[in-house]
Symmetry: C2
Subunit: 305 residues, 2 copies
Amino acid sequence: MEREFVDWLRRRLPSHPLLRLGLGDDAAVLSLAEKTYCVVTVDLLSDGVDFDLKEVGPQRIGRKCLAVNLSDLAAMAAEPLAGVVALCLPKTEAFELAVALYEGLLPLAEKYRVVIAGGDTNTWDGRLVVSITLLGLVGPRGPLCRRGALPSDRILVTGAFGGSLLGHHLDFEPRVKEALLLQKEYRLHAGIDVSDSLSLDLWRVMSESGCGAIIDAAAVPIAPAAHRLAAARGDNVSALDHALTDGEDFELLLAVPKDEARRLLAAQPLSIPVTDIGEFISEPGLWLREADGTRRALSPCGWEY
Amino acid sequence: MEREFVDWLRRRLPSHPLLRLGLGDDAAVLSLAEKTYCVVTVDLLSDGVDFDLKEVGPQRIGRKCLAVNLSDLAAMAAEPLAGVVALCLPKTEAFELAVALYEGLLPLAEKYRVVIAGGDTNTWDGRLVVSITLLGLVGPRGPLCRRGALPSDRILVTGAFGGSLLGHHLDFEPRVKEALLLQKEYRLHAGIDVSDSLSLDLWRVMSESGCGAIIDAAAVPIAPAAHRLAAARGDNVSALDHALTDGEDFELLLAVPKDEARRLLAAQPLSIPVTDIGEFISEPGLWLREADGTRRALSPCGWEY
């Protein structure tokens, strides 16, 4: 229901002179002072939906909750600054659980120099809820937005996709440094972090940019976990399907002008691979092109909260 | 358990050059650019703890969730700027519930010129959780903090106290305009919003400021609802007890130098009364002074989450 609700909310919310970018991107952009743009993002994760507290240790959960938010700042090419953490803890061993969550998230906060500026800690009879809000600062090139992809732009992605369920969704590294470096050194038109699935998040960039896209099936970097998942399940869902539709890869997807993409791919400036998986086109719709050149419409499927 | 946990967290968190004020106040203060101080606060409210969704309409709940956060900005004398809203909605009629919550909070957001910059909307099998983070900007006089009260400062409060349970806790007006006006026109040493109780929040100012305080029993402005509650319950809890220990009054409590307090009280610059209820003292401890001059130790009791 989130998509319908966000559509309703975008129509309902009044504009504001300091709000440079509101709902519908990975984070909002606010103008705070001359040339100072603040990016703000919130993600709420809950037990039984985003993680299973009984199965996963609270430290990994704490880390994931911060990492998901950092990934949103990465998607905006914003430098992490500060965060506030709101917890709704089950009453049993609430203190120990809160400490363990923080012990999980604090090393990541220190790594990315996020200061935990405040929080709100509550107990109740329900299951664990963690809501983190992060603030970031935008560099001189401005934020990276979902809007801005142009026909003939290449679709570049970091890392590999699919099978996140096997562990990556808990232990992934948010692409903060990668996004800051790419935004500084290259001319990027648009970007997003792949949180809900490669096809769905690409579709979001297309929708905001008003263009279509073709993915080259053979070019999609498939994570080993996607192959393992496909083999283990034997349910006719291929590793490529997993790469296209599984959620929580938390890699970057970028729209990059053709020449600039060539330069970036040749340089491979990151410690993880950057791969060209297709192009944005003027024709609407999302397409998958097979190795033999045939193409078929691809439904944007993925994890919709 | 929140107090113990915050104590642990204050010791655990590293410092950060941009964090001017961290945990332990109503909001954090961050330095974002030259002379630009951003205040950030988060409050998470949940069904069954802070409100009862079955009994109270979702619009009043939405309004309350924003008002509680606005009250924290008021406590810091910060001008409201922007907010993000994270929802965890029960699956049944999630869309309708989300819309109703926003219809409740948006008029208040517009009244105080808070732009809703983003959010995260989730559904689950549990009860409603609302987590709102607000950003505010500090005026040229800086933020109003819990620390700063000095012996001989007067304790001034806005409005009246007690019996909030009868309705005020849902429909209160956050004292944003009042705080901004007082901080601009008068020399205030310290301040807090009374969210957990008059005695408990006064105790927090004392603790942060390193001094004690005496409340004059006869001076405490008692809300009519506190009298009604005391009469209805007939349980030997007086209206004054309710005023001192009930939570969610959301009035301002200020530490004001003696002469400045006299000037402020004479001017009565607000549309609600400002009352002198006692004084800060160098001697530690919280005391209640009866009309005959005798005094007794007062336990800081109230709503501890």
